[in-house]
Each structure stands twice: as structure tokens, then as C-alpha cells.
Point group: C2
Chain length 204, copies 2
Amino acid sequence: MAKLTDRQQQVLAFIEQEQASSGMVPSTREIQAHFGFASQTAAINHLRALEKKGVIQRQAGKARAVAVVSTLRRETILDVPIYGQIAAGMAEMQDQEDEGMVSLDVASAGISKGSKVFALKVRGDSMIGAGIHEGDLVVLEHREPRSGDVVAALIDGETTLKRFVVTHGRPYLKAENPEFPNLLPTRELIVQGVMATLIRKFRK
Amino acid sequence: MAKLTDRQQQVLAFIEQEQASSGMVPSTREIQAHFGFASQTAAINHLRALEKKGVIQRQAGKARAVAVVSTLRRETILDVPIYGQIAAGMAEMQDQEDEGMVSLDVASAGISKGSKVFALKVRGDSMIGAGIHEGDLVVLEHREPRSGDVVAALIDGETTLKRFVVTHGRPYLKAENPEFPNLLPTRELIVQGVMATLIRKFRK
DNA sequence: CCGGCCGTGATCATTCACCTCGACGCGGAC
DNA sequence: GTCCGCGTCGAGGTGAATGATCACGGCCGG
């Protein structure tokens, strides 16, 4: 891919910035106005140059038909709401206060498109044996758990992270920390989500 | 936010799908054609309804002036290239084979916009004490390490993950695993990146 | 009976990409 | 040097793409 000129870099930056802030790609006239060109031709030429260098794609004749290749190549982005640490009543998935958002691509998340997804901040260290630490962000998928999955389960009105194990046809919840009781009886087991991804942010 | 009709959901899905695949929002006529409407008005009405319900934003008079609010609210997405496990010669950041891509928002990544970023797949368990396991994906930022940071360093032509510690004004690399030598002398220390985020994908 | 939803059909007014012709500077090729 | 390509910009014009509007009708729940 050929290198971009300073000017072309500026134009590309403008396009990307506009798309991020207003959601739409600027037209040739808007580019013209932004850079103070007296003619559209200047803007069009820059677009053509960017297209030839492969950083954008265009569709002849169509309005605002500019697509930035780097965002085009990207996998679908999943927006995961963070429901905090306490998840009482989550079974209904309602009235949950959003405490933020994580966005990552579906491939990295390993999540089947279409299923309900949410995230929780890990509190405590009952799963430290599985490499899940306090403060980690856990992305969970709402689906039926399989044996061996790490799940967020509602026990005594509180959500905790445990490993879901089925032995002799009976489901158990297992904490991965020697200081915790290894097996918990699981009557009225409510699994709120199955762990799909873990995200840990290091010092800022 | 008012609930969407089935039809409105379909229209929104079409818009999002088009934007993802071609990079641009469909025009009213394209929406019309896709759904087999005999009139543009049908398409326009749906857009108006979607706008009133707050899921899209439009700008009067402008072409393809539709912005999906959910993607608009989103933080800036960072595209991180995965450079694999072996990173010989990475100091130049050149000729690196892309083995994929991870995309996540800058806020979750905790990365200062503008710095060079890349990712590596963790091999071995020398950092298991820090909760970093084999197979984890580590996002690294190219910057000067501070004491206590986890860094990817080039030692004997191979990249390994270690904790960077400065004691008595002298830098050391420390493995977080009792089976490994605790402190490594660090002459000619090349730090390729400072760990910013960890991503672990669970069973698929 | 009204308002929201879902359409058809035709027309109008802009927005917008594209084209032609021309200009200037710069660096490499001949 | 001289020519050529490329980047960058100006002036003006054309036709297609596109959003917007008006008029009309049907369906449904409150």
C-alpha cells in the first residue's frame, strides 16, 4: 500500500473524524468547505488518490459513497453492557443499571451472534484457581451451560462466579479456590450467564 | 425508548448490515428496493419512525444522512494486530505477519490514543502467578515501562512476558512462577511492549 | 373516531458526484 | 536542460442520485 501524503492523511483523518462524530461520511462539498478549497475538484482528487492507494472504497455515482477500508475489514463489533457487580433480579434482564460498556469484536469474544450478552466486574477471588481475579471484567453469554463452563449463578440473592460441573447427571457449582467449599449443592440453580471472555485492564 | 415494530426492526437490521458490508448507509430507494416497496414513502416513513424512537439520527436534506445511534455512542474502536507468538526482530515493528486482529474500545483497552499497539498470544506459564495463562491474548502498548509493569521483552532472540521491576535504580525482569528463576539480569534489555490488557477466550 | 402503523403513486427541489479545461510546483527520466 | 507524471488546486457546467412532500387508502387498538 502506497504511503499517503500529508494532505491525504489530513483528508482521511477528517473523514474518519466526521464519521465518528456525526455518523456519516462527508460529501465532497463538505470536505471542500472544511479545507477551504475554492473548488470541489480538489476534494474529489483527494478522494480519488485515497481510493487508488486503497485506504478508502467508493461507489461511482452514489452520494457519500465512501467507505474507510480499515473499518470495513473489521469484524462485527459487539457492544456489551456492564451490569455491575450485583445482579439481583437479573433473571428477567430488566431494570439493570448500565455501568458502562465494553465493545469488542465477535471473533475475539467467541460469541454466537444474536445471543444476549452482558458483562460483570468480578468481586472476590473464589475463582482465582481459574485465573479469574478481583476486578476482572467477565463477558457472559445467556445460554444453557455445559459441564465445565464457568457460569454466573444466582445463589441466595447474590451473583457469584463458579464452575458448572455435572457429575452422575447432577449439576454442581465448584469454586476454584482451595479456601472455598469445593462443591455446592445446587437446588434451584439459576444460571444467569455462561462465561465467554475475560478482559483484564492493567494499571492506567 | 419506545419499542420497535417487527418491520422497523427489519429496516434497522438492513441498515446496519449494509453499513457493515459496504460501509455506507442505504438510500431510501435502496431500502425501498430491498423490501420490494412500490413507493419511497414507505421507506421514508420507516426512517422517520426509527428517528422518532431514537435509534437513528438523520440530517434533513442530506444524502444518506442516517446514523445509527448505538454505533454513535460507542467509544472509539482500536484495531490491534496480532503478531503471533514469536516476535523476533519486532524491535523494528516491520515485516510482522498479521495473524489476525482484535478490536476493542480504547476505554476498555486503557490505551492512550495514538500509541502503537499490538497483541501477542501467550505461550508458556512463566507469568501464571499474575493470572496470565497459556493461550491468553495480551495487548501491549509500545512505551517506556514503569516499575511493576508487565512487559514483553526480547531475550535471546525470543519474546517472553515478564514483570519489569526496578530496584536500587537497576531494572530486572521477574517471572511470576515459583518454578522459574525469580530475577533475571537484564543487560541489553529490549522491551517491545508494555501490557495494557489481557483477553482470554473461553471454550467455543 | 383518532392516532400510530404500513403502504401506493407522482412530482419537486436539492444535493452531489463527475467532467472538461487550465494552472503551478516538484522530482525523476531521458 | 527538457519532458513527463503526480500532487494540489481553480472555475464552471451537467445529469443523476436522493430526500422531501402531497394526496390517497387500509389496518388495528384504545
